[in-house]
């Protein structure tokens, strides 16, 4: 269990690791379950590779790939039988670490006094199997938002601190992927307990495994694996290197933070507002979007009240509601808020970009709005010479 880069750095350097076959993957899931983990990983459901609790490695999406485009996701069979050769699906790990609906506390009126009770159910110990490098970074970003400031979210902290992260390096990026632009993949960054690279070739279907924490090493020791041979390591590394050259999307070569800060009055926002449905899907699928709203509910007795927290989105008109109306009434301003926050002001607020290049917002936008295309259009505008205007106060 490692929660940040420092923890990782203090661990012993990874050895050459081990190699195991599909049988090893089956044992891995069994070992995790025996150790008390709730294993969550990719599996095929409803025509997509979703993240769900796994009872056995048989449920992994062996032989399934995906075809991704803006506003389009299709499952495709893979003749090679690989389990992890598919890019990001409809959900991310935040569905488990930062769930869509959480009860925070309740209040009871007892003899005229208020009694508040925090709700801190003991979370399951999650083992996340098949975390992509981009998503590993996304988890680190949410760590920073929800536990790295002056206030820690105790629910998130409880779920996160017990979670075991088993990362799979990316060998099959989708047409909507741009992790290379964001510096998050396709090789795994720090913070994992175990990392694996899947190899399928004439020598068989196997996984090159390395540990990144003591617990990861303990688990690795229980698997039917042999020392990693140079050929497997070489093939695995080559697969990851090749993936870096096969990104379907790229961000413009510009300082994105400066680009966002300098284009708040660009006409492109009107253009994207014409297409944007303000449905909120991009924020809901984004692995780093963390915004929530609260609901204060009462029961019929009127003496029991509860505080719930739900995923919210800056695309909701009510998101910026003040007495007198919403601050961001136009869809132009709401799309601009999302994108400039993600790529720009996130640095000011939390010290990094909020985007990891997973491409989910592009795929799951019903009308296929593409954040890389919008960024490129803004960049073009700054290069066109028409952008040197100073906004007048309203």
């Amino acid at each position: 269990m490692s929660t940040d880069a420092e923890v990782h750095a203090s661990q012993p350097p990874a050895s050459d690791g081990l190699v195991m076959g599909k049988d090893g993957m089956a044992v891995l899931v069994d070992v995790l379950i025996r150790r008390g983990f709730t294993v969550v990983g990719p599996t095929v459901r409803d025509g997509a590779i979703v993240l769900a609790e796994l009872r056995s490695a048989d449920e992994l999406p062996y032989g399934w790939g995906v075809e991704l485009e803006a506003g389009r996701y299709r499952l495709r069979e893979r003749p090679d039988g690989a389990a992890f050769a598919n890019a990001a699906g409809p959900q991310s790990w935040k569905s488990f670490l930062h769930p869509a609906r959480v009860r925070e506390w309740s209040a009871d009126r007892v003899d005229g006094d208020l009694v508040f009770t925090a709700h801190q159910a003991t979370p399951p110990r999650y083992a996340f199997l098949g975390v992509r490098p981009c998503d590993l970074r996304a988890i680190a970003i949410q760590d920073r938002v929800l536990t790295g400031g002056a206030y820690r979210d105790p629910g998130y902290e409880g779920r996160r601190s017990g979670a075991l992260l088993i990362v799979v390096e990316c060998t099959e990026p989708g047409a909507t992927c741009f992790c290379v632009s964001m510096g998050t993949g396709p090789a795994a960054g720090p913070g994992y307990d175990l990392v694996m690279t899947e190899v399928v070739d004439e020598d068989g279907h196997r996984f090159w495994m390395r540990s990144g924490s003591e617990e990861g090493a303990e688990i690795l020791a229980e698997l039917p694996a042999r020392p990693a041979d140079p050929a497997t390591q070489e093939t695995a590394r080559a697969g990851v290197t090749a993936a870096a050259d096969r990104m379907g999307r790229t961000m413009p070569e510009a300082d994105l933070r400066e680009l966002m800060a300098g284009t708040l009055d660009a006409p492109r926002w009107d253009d994207v507002a014409g297409r944007c449905l303000t449905c909120g899907n991009c924020t809901m699928v984004c692995p780093t979007c963390f915004c929530t709203t609260t609901e204060d509910v009462t029961d019929l007795t009127g003496d029991h009240a509860e505080r719930w927290r739900l995923w919210d989105s800056c695309f909701d008109l009510d998101f910026s509601q003040l007495h007198g109306g919403p601050v961001r009434a136009s869809s132009r301003s709401r799309y601009r808020q999302w994108m400039t926050h993600k790529l720009g002001t996130w640095y000011d607020q939390f010290g990094s970009s909020g985007c990891v290049g997973c491409g989910r917002c592009i795929v799951w936008c019903p009308v296929g709005i593409d954040i890389t295309e919008e960024a490129a259009a803004l960049h073009d505008w700054t290069q066109s010479g028409t952008s040197a205007s100073t906004p007048e106060p309203p």
Partner: protein, 282 residues
């Protein structure tokens, strides 16, 4: 020694349920709240609800269509389609402290508002053997077109949880926790894979008011908009996408011409459906 007299008995507000032009489905939603119904009747006195009891008020005399009042909370189902109902809703408003409309008929005019787009006499002639016996207005209009409404609860039919939320919020003096955003929020919160993106299924979810819990997409069916428009829907972009997903101009017109056909937000639909597409999105 002080004797414990038990919990303070608060005054029980009175509730009335009214029917105008409608199918009764939304009223039945209240009766369908089986587990909570006793709790509701413990906190409010249901004084006028013909679906439940022919008697009215504390002294339980025979109820009349127009009720006696006054009532603290009135739930109004149905749209205004007759001269009599246009007068009766004024009466209901006068005798109600707080008036909530429930369902697509009451909030948008209902499926019967299809008459607003055609000649009502043609409909009468097509449906009734003796149309001269039928006295009806040329349009079906929502309650808010006639009297001030304190809250509008959407849906065809309404959602039982949302109805209970409106009642409990009223009792607690708070704003009902009912959002105006899209159905997509609910799909994502419940973890449903988007059927438009994953399967190319046309779906009105992105422009439809949340509240149903995103039932249809969870069963692989596209949202057909029974909760009406979400706040400020971008219909131009939505309709371009529906056309892209295989719907014809006529299909698009028809999918918006259902329970919420007369929603003002849908007025530009025929023009937008007829627009030539500029090619598929990016």
């Amino acid at each position: 020694m002080v004797t414990d007299l038990g919990p303070v008995i608060r005054t029980r507000p009175t509730l009335a349920v009214w029917k105008f032009a409608s199918c009764d489905g939304c009223q039945l939603t209240l009766l369908d709240c089986e587990d909570e119904l006793l709790g509701v009747t413990g906190r409010v006195r249901i004084d006028h609800f013909l679906e439940m009891s022919p008697a009215e008020g504390a002294d339980r005399e025979r109820a009349r269509l127009d009720g006696r009042g006054p009532y603290d909370l009135s739930l109004v189902e149905g749209s205004i389609t007759t001269v009599e109902d246009a007068e009766r809703i004024q009466h209901v408003r006068r005798i109600s402290r707080y008036l909530v409309t429930i369902g697509a008929c009451a909030t948008a005019g209902g499926i019967q508002a299809l008459r607003n787009f055609a000649d009502v006499d043609d409909f009468l002639a097509a449906v009734y053997a003796r149309p001269e016996y039928i006295a009806t207005l040329e349009t079906s209009t929502p309650i808010s077109a006639h009297v001030p409404v304190d809250f509008e609860l959407r849906g065809c039919p309404i959602d039982g949880r949302q109805l209970l939320e409106v009642i409990t919020a009223y009792l607690a003096g708070r704003r009902p926790q009912i959002s105006n955003h899209s159905v997509c929020f609910e799909c994502k919160r419940r973890g449903t894979t988007c059927i438009t993106v994953a399967h190319g299924t046309p779906c009105l979810g992105p422009v439809t008011h949340a509240g149903c819990g995103a039932i249809c997409p969870a069963y692989g069916r596209g949202c057909y908009g029974c909760f009406g428009p979400s706040s400020k829907p971008n219909l131009r972009s939505m309709i371009a996408q529906l056309r892209h997903d295989g719907m014809s101009e006529r299909d698009v017109q028809r999918v918006f011409r259902t329970f919420n056909a007369a929603s003002p937000e849908y007025a530009p639909v025929p023009d937008l459906a007829a627009e030539e597409r500029q090619g598929p999105p990016a």
